[in-house]
Amino acid sequence: MNLESFLIISGVMFSIGLIGVLIKSNIIAILMSLELMLNSVNIAAVAASRYVTPLNSQPEFVLWGNLFAVFVITIAAAEIALGLAIVMSLYKRKNRIFIDTISDLKG
């Protein structure tokens, strides 16, 4: 249990989320994979601030990674609320939530 193992978990989870975003066709599944990616970034930030601390730092700067993760969680909550609202709106208009059938912006 050291910094590398946490970073490897974070990297694997980020790649799984990226694969999910790229290969899924259901919009809700894409949003779920996006949540995986945001969570993996939190793990990396917290692990880095746990194992690497600046010299002669004040106690509040030791927890900088936790503060970074708090803001990431805020943005993730905003993103999932907006994303699911867009999904509901699309479902009302088109009755479909698969990205293969949504091509209104295609030139």
């Binding site: 249990m1 050291n2 590398e4 946490f6 970073l7 978990i9 990297g11 694997v12 989870m13 790649s15 799984i16 990226l18 694969i19 999910g20 790229l22 290969i23 899924k24 066709s25 259901n26 809700i28 599944a29 949003l31 779920m32 994979s33 949540e35 995986l36 969570n39 939190n42 793990i43 917290v46 194992y51 601390t53 010299l55 002669n56 730092s57 004040q58 106690p59 509040e60 030791v62 936790n66 803001f71 969680i73 805020t74 943005i75 993730a76 905003a78 999932i80 609320a81 907006l82 699911l84 609202a85 867009i86 509901m88 709106s89 479902y91 009302k92 208009r93 939530i97 698969f98 293969d100």
Partner: protein, 170 residues
């Protein structure tokens, strides 16, 4: 020794649930595996001495976001159509595996020297003992501008979500 065992168990729960999220045929089961992944991340946060983040993760992700996703799945009736792959699946898998190999290669080959002379032990102990106090103090002193901006981001997201959902009703 015992933290290592707990770490391996938590890490394998997290990774296996994350893989099940994207290979599961049923989107409802994928959402339940997503909640299990979030629980694994809670365990990792506790192992990293981030109790505040573990509580926030448990309340916001496991308690709120998973439930909202489950509601969205149940409101849209495409559940029985499953969770198919799009037509870009091979390109997407290839890209993801390339990114995975780059990340793992960079992490393994870099020399993470975490044994250098770090902050004083008493500073570290004080910081991790009173972590919630220091997080709150920093949020309203040093980081007060990002804090206020993030509250406006949340307000804008809520207003946008309400207007998007209301639009279809008229």
């Amino acid at each position: 020794m015992i933290p290592d065992i707990i770490f391996y168990i938590t890490a394998s729960i997290t990774i296996i649930s994350a893989i099940m999220v994207i290979i599961s045929r049923d989107i409802f089961r994928a959402a339940l595996f997503l909640a299990s992944t979030f629980l694994g991340v809670v365990g990792l946060f506790i192992l990293l001495f981030a109790e505040f983040l573990a509580a926030v993760q448990l309340i916001i992700y496991v308690g709120a976001i998973s439930v909202v996703i489950l509601f969205a799945i149940m409101f849209t009736k495409d559940v029985e159509l499953g969770n198919p792959f799009s037509k870009f699946k091979f390109i997407g898998l290839f890209t993801g595996l390339i990114v995975l190999s780059i990340l793992i290669g960079a992490i393994v080959s870099f020399d993470w020297n975490t044994n250098f002379e770090s902050a004083k032990p008493e500073v570290l102990i004080e910081a991790y003992k009173n972590s919630i106090y220091f997080i709150g103090k920093t949020l309203v002193s040093t980081l007060v501008v990002p804090f206020i901006v993030s509250s406006f981001v949340l307000l804008a997201a809520v207003l946008g979500a309400i207007s998007l959902v209301k639009e279809g009703n008229e």
